[in-house]
Protein backbone atom coordinates (compact mmCIF):
# COMPACT_ATOMS: atom_id res chain seq x y z
CA UNK A 1 0.00 0.00 0.00
CA UNK A 2 1.49 3.30 -1.09
CA UNK A 3 1.61 5.96 1.62
CA UNK A 4 -0.66 8.94 1.17
CA UNK A 5 1.18 12.25 0.76
CA UNK A 6 0.32 15.11 3.13
CA UNK A 7 -3.06 16.50 2.07
CA UNK A 8 -1.50 19.95 1.88
CA UNK A 9 0.72 18.78 -0.96
CA UNK A 10 -2.24 17.32 -2.84
CA UNK A 11 -4.03 20.64 -2.44
CA UNK A 12 -1.02 22.62 -3.72
CA UNK A 13 -0.48 20.32 -6.68
CA UNK A 14 -4.09 19.90 -7.78
CA UNK A 15 -5.93 23.04 -6.76
CA UNK A 16 -5.48 24.92 -10.04
CA UNK A 17 -6.72 21.91 -12.05
CA UNK A 18 -9.75 21.50 -9.81
CA UNK A 19 -10.48 25.22 -10.06
CA UNK A 20 -10.19 25.21 -13.87
CA UNK A 21 -12.64 22.32 -13.95
CA UNK A 22 -15.13 24.02 -11.64
CA UNK A 23 -14.90 27.45 -13.25
CA UNK A 24 -16.47 25.98 -16.37
CA UNK A 25 -18.39 23.07 -14.84
CA UNK A 26 -20.38 25.21 -12.35
CA UNK A 27 -19.47 28.77 -13.41
CA UNK A 28 -17.30 31.42 -11.76
CA UNK A 29 -20.12 32.51 -9.45
CA UNK A 30 -20.21 29.22 -7.52
CA UNK A 31 -16.77 27.79 -8.28
CA UNK A 32 -15.17 28.88 -5.00
CA UNK A 33 -17.89 27.34 -2.86
CA UNK A 34 -17.94 24.04 -4.77
CA UNK A 35 -14.12 24.04 -4.71
CA UNK A 36 -14.18 24.16 -0.90
CA UNK A 37 -16.91 21.51 -0.73
CA UNK A 38 -14.81 19.30 -2.98
CA UNK A 39 -11.68 19.58 -0.85
CA UNK A 40 -13.65 19.21 2.40
CA UNK A 41 -15.20 15.99 1.09
CA UNK A 42 -11.77 14.86 -0.09
CA UNK A 43 -10.23 15.61 3.31
CA UNK A 44 -13.01 13.67 5.02
CA UNK A 45 -12.49 10.63 2.79
CA UNK A 46 -8.71 10.92 2.48
CA UNK A 47 -7.61 8.31 5.04
CA UNK A 48 -9.81 5.77 3.20
CA UNK A 49 -8.69 6.84 -0.27
CA UNK A 50 -8.75 3.76 -2.50
CA UNK A 51 -6.70 5.18 -5.36
CA UNK A 52 -3.44 6.60 -3.95
CA UNK A 53 -1.68 6.11 -7.28
CA UNK A 54 -4.14 8.35 -9.11
CA UNK A 55 -4.95 11.09 -6.63
CA UNK A 56 -5.65 13.61 -9.40
CA UNK A 57 -8.35 11.32 -10.79
CA UNK A 58 -9.69 10.59 -7.32
CA UNK A 59 -10.06 14.34 -6.66
CA UNK A 60 -11.70 15.02 -10.02
CA UNK A 61 -14.17 12.22 -9.29
CA UNK A 62 -15.20 14.06 -6.12
CA UNK A 63 -15.26 17.42 -7.92
CA UNK A 64 -17.46 15.96 -10.68
CA UNK A 65 -19.90 14.57 -8.14
CA UNK A 66 -20.03 17.93 -6.35
CA UNK A 67 -20.59 19.78 -9.63
CA UNK A 68 -23.45 17.48 -10.63
CA UNK A 69 -24.98 17.68 -7.11
CA UNK A 70 -24.71 21.44 -7.32
CA UNK A 71 -26.75 21.54 -10.55
CA UNK A 72 -29.31 19.06 -9.19
CA UNK A 73 -29.77 21.12 -6.04
CA UNK A 74 -30.20 24.20 -8.13
CA UNK A 75 -32.69 22.50 -10.44
CA UNK A 76 -34.82 21.21 -7.56
CA UNK A 77 -34.57 24.38 -5.50
CA UNK A 78 -36.70 27.50 -5.87
CA UNK A 79 -36.29 29.10 -9.28
CA UNK A 80 -34.19 32.21 -9.00
CA UNK A 81 -34.61 34.10 -12.21
CA UNK A 82 -31.28 35.91 -11.93
CA UNK A 83 -29.24 32.70 -11.90
CA UNK A 84 -28.36 32.22 -15.53
CA UNK A 85 -27.68 35.91 -16.20
CA UNK A 86 -25.42 35.81 -13.10
CA UNK A 87 -23.11 33.43 -14.84
CA UNK A 88 -23.08 35.54 -17.96
CA UNK A 89 -22.35 38.69 -15.99
CA UNK A 90 -19.57 36.93 -14.08
CA UNK A 91 -17.95 35.67 -17.24
CA UNK A 92 -15.24 37.53 -19.08
CA UNK A 93 -16.02 40.26 -21.61
CA UNK A 94 -18.92 39.97 -24.06
CA UNK A 95 -17.61 37.68 -26.80
CA UNK A 96 -17.91 34.81 -24.34
CA UNK A 97 -21.39 35.67 -23.12
CA UNK A 98 -23.08 33.49 -25.73
CA UNK A 99 -20.73 30.64 -24.96
CA UNK A 100 -21.41 30.94 -21.21
CA UNK A 101 -25.16 30.83 -21.86
CA UNK A 102 -24.75 27.75 -24.02
CA UNK A 103 -22.55 26.02 -21.41
CA UNK A 104 -25.00 26.88 -18.63
CA UNK A 105 -27.84 25.29 -20.62
CA UNK A 106 -26.07 21.90 -20.97
CA UNK A 107 -27.38 18.95 -18.97
CA UNK A 108 -24.99 18.57 -15.97
CA UNK A 109 -23.48 15.23 -17.03
CA UNK A 110 -22.71 16.49 -20.53
CA UNK A 111 -21.29 19.70 -19.15
CA UNK A 112 -18.96 17.85 -16.78
CA UNK A 113 -17.82 15.42 -19.49
CA UNK A 114 -17.16 18.22 -21.98
CA UNK A 115 -15.09 20.14 -19.44
CA UNK A 116 -12.92 17.12 -18.65
CA UNK A 117 -12.25 16.64 -22.35
CA UNK A 118 -11.98 20.19 -23.64
CA UNK A 119 -10.78 22.21 -20.67
CA UNK A 120 -8.57 19.66 -18.88
CA UNK A 121 -7.65 17.61 -22.01
CA UNK A 122 -8.35 14.31 -20.26
CA UNK A 123 -8.39 11.07 -22.24
CA UNK A 124 -11.68 9.21 -22.64
CA UNK A 125 -10.27 6.37 -20.54
CA UNK A 126 -9.62 8.89 -17.76
CA UNK A 127 -13.03 10.49 -18.10
CA UNK A 128 -14.66 7.06 -17.90
CA UNK A 129 -12.72 6.34 -14.68
CA UNK A 130 -13.62 9.74 -13.24
CA UNK A 131 -17.31 9.53 -14.08
CA UNK A 132 -17.62 5.82 -13.35
CA UNK A 133 -18.93 4.92 -16.82
CA UNK A 134 -17.62 3.12 -19.89
CA UNK A 135 -15.30 4.79 -22.35
CA UNK A 136 -18.08 4.66 -24.96
CA UNK A 137 -20.48 6.41 -22.63
CA UNK A 138 -17.84 9.09 -21.88
CA UNK A 139 -17.32 9.62 -25.61
CA UNK A 140 -21.08 9.84 -26.18
CA UNK A 141 -21.55 12.44 -23.39
CA UNK A 142 -18.74 14.61 -24.72
CA UNK A 143 -19.95 14.49 -28.30
CA UNK A 144 -23.59 15.16 -27.33
CA UNK A 145 -22.44 18.10 -25.23
CA UNK A 146 -20.34 19.55 -28.03
CA UNK A 147 -23.19 19.16 -30.49
CA UNK A 148 -25.48 21.05 -28.10
CA UNK A 149 -22.91 23.81 -27.68
CA UNK A 150 -22.38 24.24 -31.41
CA UNK A 151 -26.10 24.49 -32.03
CA UNK A 152 -26.56 27.10 -29.34
CA UNK A 153 -23.52 29.21 -30.11
CA UNK A 154 -23.99 29.22 -33.89
Amino acid sequence: MRALPPFERLLQEQRTTVMRFLLVAVGPHDAEDVFQETFLAALRAYPRCDDPRHLDRWLLRIASRKAIDHHRRRASGPVVSSRVPDRVVDGPATPDAALWTAVAALPPKQRVAVVHRHVLDRTYADIAAILGCTEDAARASVSAGLKNLRERVA
Binding site: F7, M19, A31
Partner: protein, 199 residues
Protein backbone atom coordinates in the same frame (compact mmCIF):
# COMPACT_ATOMS: atom_id res chain seq x y z
CA UNK B 1 -14.40 26.46 -33.20
CA UNK B 2 -15.54 26.47 -29.61
CA UNK B 3 -12.78 27.29 -27.14
CA UNK B 4 -13.83 26.38 -23.63
CA UNK B 5 -10.39 26.85 -22.08
CA UNK B 6 -10.91 30.57 -22.38
CA UNK B 7 -13.68 30.32 -19.80
CA UNK B 8 -11.36 28.92 -17.13
CA UNK B 9 -9.48 32.19 -16.76
CA UNK B 10 -7.59 33.22 -13.64
CA UNK B 11 -7.80 29.73 -12.10
CA UNK B 12 -4.49 30.06 -10.27
CA UNK B 13 -5.43 33.13 -8.27
CA UNK B 14 -8.95 31.89 -7.61
CA UNK B 15 -7.67 28.53 -6.40
CA UNK B 16 -5.27 30.24 -4.01
CA UNK B 17 -8.05 32.44 -2.65
CA UNK B 18 -10.43 29.51 -2.24
CA UNK B 19 -7.72 27.48 -0.46
CA UNK B 20 -7.34 30.17 2.18
CA UNK B 21 -10.97 29.86 3.22
CA UNK B 22 -10.71 26.08 3.06
CA UNK B 23 -8.37 25.75 6.04
CA UNK B 24 -10.78 27.53 8.38
CA UNK B 25 -13.78 25.51 7.19
CA UNK B 26 -11.83 22.26 7.47
CA UNK B 27 -10.56 23.07 10.96
CA UNK B 28 -14.06 24.08 12.11
CA UNK B 29 -15.35 20.72 10.86
CA UNK B 30 -12.65 18.84 12.76
CA UNK B 31 -11.12 17.52 9.55
CA UNK B 32 -7.57 18.73 10.11
CA UNK B 33 -5.60 16.13 12.06
CA UNK B 34 -2.35 18.10 11.79
CA UNK B 35 -2.43 21.89 11.41
CA UNK B 36 0.72 23.60 10.14
CA UNK B 37 1.78 27.17 10.78
CA UNK B 38 4.99 29.02 9.93
CA UNK B 39 6.51 31.85 11.90
CA UNK B 40 9.60 34.03 11.82
CA UNK B 41 11.92 33.96 14.81
CA UNK B 42 15.40 35.24 15.64
CA UNK B 43 16.70 31.76 14.77
CA UNK B 44 14.94 31.64 11.42
CA UNK B 45 11.64 30.29 10.21
CA UNK B 46 9.93 27.80 12.49
CA UNK B 47 7.18 25.47 11.33
CA UNK B 48 4.89 24.25 14.09
CA UNK B 49 2.50 21.31 13.81
CA UNK B 50 -0.52 20.99 16.11
CA UNK B 51 -2.93 18.08 16.60
CA UNK B 52 -6.10 17.82 18.69
CA UNK B 53 -3.87 16.77 21.60
CA UNK B 54 -1.43 19.64 21.30
CA UNK B 55 1.90 20.69 19.80
CA UNK B 56 3.44 17.64 18.12
CA UNK B 57 6.39 19.04 16.17
CA UNK B 58 8.62 22.10 15.79
CA UNK B 59 10.64 22.15 12.56
CA UNK B 60 13.73 24.35 12.10
CA UNK B 61 14.52 26.10 8.82
CA UNK B 62 17.68 23.96 8.63
CA UNK B 63 15.57 20.81 8.35
CA UNK B 64 13.92 19.64 5.13
CA UNK B 65 10.41 20.94 5.72
CA UNK B 66 8.78 18.87 3.01
CA UNK B 67 10.39 15.66 4.19
CA UNK B 68 9.45 16.36 7.80
CA UNK B 69 5.84 17.06 6.84
CA UNK B 70 5.80 13.78 4.91
CA UNK B 71 7.02 12.05 8.04
CA UNK B 72 4.11 13.60 9.95
CA UNK B 73 1.75 12.26 7.27
CA UNK B 74 3.16 8.78 7.79
CA UNK B 75 3.38 8.79 11.56
CA UNK B 76 0.43 10.94 12.64
CA UNK B 77 -2.09 11.38 9.81
CA UNK B 78 -2.09 12.41 6.13
CA UNK B 79 -4.86 14.91 6.90
CA UNK B 80 -2.35 17.76 7.15
CA UNK B 81 -3.24 21.28 6.17
CA UNK B 82 -1.72 24.74 6.48
CA UNK B 83 -4.08 26.16 9.09
CA UNK B 84 -2.18 29.01 10.75
CA UNK B 85 -5.16 30.06 12.90
CA UNK B 86 -5.07 26.69 14.68
CA UNK B 87 -1.44 27.31 15.61
CA UNK B 88 -2.01 30.83 17.00
CA UNK B 89 -1.49 29.87 20.67
CA UNK B 90 1.78 28.14 19.92
CA UNK B 91 3.11 30.98 17.84
CA UNK B 92 2.07 33.53 20.45
CA UNK B 93 3.95 31.71 23.23
CA UNK B 94 7.03 31.25 21.05
CA UNK B 95 6.98 34.96 20.19
CA UNK B 96 6.79 35.82 23.89
CA UNK B 97 9.62 33.39 24.62
CA UNK B 98 11.88 34.97 22.01
CA UNK B 99 10.98 38.42 23.37
CA UNK B 100 12.28 37.22 26.75
CA UNK B 101 8.82 37.63 28.33
CA UNK B 102 7.95 33.98 28.76
CA UNK B 103 10.05 31.58 30.80
CA UNK B 104 7.71 28.64 30.92
CA UNK B 105 5.46 27.32 28.14
CA UNK B 106 1.84 26.47 28.94
CA UNK B 107 1.09 24.57 25.75
CA UNK B 108 -0.53 21.13 25.66
CA UNK B 109 1.92 18.71 24.05
CA UNK B 110 1.30 15.69 21.85
CA UNK B 111 4.17 13.31 22.66
CA UNK B 112 3.25 10.52 20.29
CA UNK B 113 6.38 10.95 18.16
CA UNK B 114 8.61 10.15 21.16
CA UNK B 115 9.66 6.60 21.93
CA UNK B 116 9.05 5.58 25.57
CA UNK B 117 12.73 6.11 26.40
CA UNK B 118 12.86 9.50 24.66
CA UNK B 119 9.71 10.49 26.51
CA UNK B 120 11.33 9.66 29.82
CA UNK B 121 14.51 11.56 28.96
CA UNK B 122 12.60 14.61 27.77
CA UNK B 123 10.39 14.60 30.87
CA UNK B 124 13.55 14.79 32.95
CA UNK B 125 14.81 17.59 30.70
CA UNK B 126 11.65 19.59 31.25
CA UNK B 127 12.51 19.79 34.93
CA UNK B 128 15.59 21.84 34.03
CA UNK B 129 14.15 25.35 34.29
CA UNK B 130 14.74 28.51 32.28
CA UNK B 131 18.30 29.70 32.77
CA UNK B 132 19.42 26.30 34.05
CA UNK B 133 21.71 23.69 32.53
CA UNK B 134 22.20 19.97 33.03
CA UNK B 135 24.77 17.55 31.64
CA UNK B 136 23.94 14.39 29.74
CA UNK B 137 25.26 12.42 32.70
CA UNK B 138 23.00 14.28 35.10
CA UNK B 139 19.93 13.60 32.99
CA UNK B 140 20.97 9.94 32.76
CA UNK B 141 21.29 9.82 36.54
CA UNK B 142 17.89 11.46 36.97
CA UNK B 143 16.15 8.73 35.03
CA UNK B 144 18.00 6.14 37.06
CA UNK B 145 20.36 5.04 34.29
CA UNK B 146 23.63 6.79 35.15
CA UNK B 147 25.60 4.89 32.50
CA UNK B 148 23.25 5.82 29.66
CA UNK B 149 24.62 9.31 28.90
CA UNK B 150 25.19 8.42 25.25
CA UNK B 151 21.64 7.06 24.82
CA UNK B 152 20.37 10.20 26.52
CA UNK B 153 22.21 12.27 23.92
CA UNK B 154 20.57 10.31 21.11
CA UNK B 155 17.13 10.68 22.70
CA UNK B 156 17.59 14.45 23.06
CA UNK B 157 18.67 14.61 19.43
CA UNK B 158 15.38 13.05 18.41
CA UNK B 159 13.28 15.57 20.35
CA UNK B 160 10.35 16.33 18.02
CA UNK B 161 9.36 19.49 19.95
CA UNK B 162 12.59 21.46 20.40
CA UNK B 163 12.61 24.85 22.18
CA UNK B 164 9.31 24.08 23.96
CA UNK B 165 10.73 20.83 25.32
CA UNK B 166 14.07 22.35 26.29
CA UNK B 167 16.63 19.79 25.16
CA UNK B 168 18.94 22.76 24.49
CA UNK B 169 19.50 23.02 28.25
CA UNK B 170 21.46 19.79 28.27
CA UNK B 171 25.17 20.22 27.62
CA UNK B 172 28.36 18.17 27.72
CA UNK B 173 30.42 17.70 30.83
CA UNK B 174 32.07 20.99 31.81
CA UNK B 175 29.35 23.00 30.01
CA UNK B 176 30.59 22.16 26.53
CA UNK B 177 27.94 22.77 23.84
CA UNK B 178 27.50 19.64 21.80
CA UNK B 179 25.02 18.53 19.14
CA UNK B 180 21.65 20.10 18.45
CA UNK B 181 19.08 19.15 15.81
CA UNK B 182 18.85 22.78 14.73
CA UNK B 183 22.63 23.24 14.70
CA UNK B 184 24.91 24.57 17.45
CA UNK B 185 24.44 28.30 16.68
CA UNK B 186 20.73 27.93 17.47
CA UNK B 187 21.48 26.15 20.73
CA UNK B 188 23.92 28.88 21.64
CA UNK B 189 21.34 31.55 20.80
CA UNK B 190 18.68 29.94 23.01
CA UNK B 191 21.04 29.54 25.96
CA UNK B 192 22.26 33.11 25.60
CA UNK B 193 18.65 34.33 25.47
CA UNK B 194 17.97 32.44 28.70
CA UNK B 195 21.08 33.93 30.29
CA UNK B 196 22.80 30.60 30.85
CA UNK B 197 25.80 31.48 28.73
CA UNK B 198 28.10 34.41 29.24
CA UNK B 199 27.73 36.69 26.22
Amino acid sequence: MINLKRLAFDADRRAAAASDGLADRAAASGLVDVALGDMDSPIGRLTVAVTARGLVRVIFASEDREQEVEELARRVSPRILEAPAVTDDVRRELDAYFAGDLHRFHLPLDRRLMSPFTREVLRATERVGYGGLATYGEVAARIGRPRAARAVGAALGSNPIPIVVPCHRVVGAGGRLTGYAGGLPRKEFLLTLEGSLAV
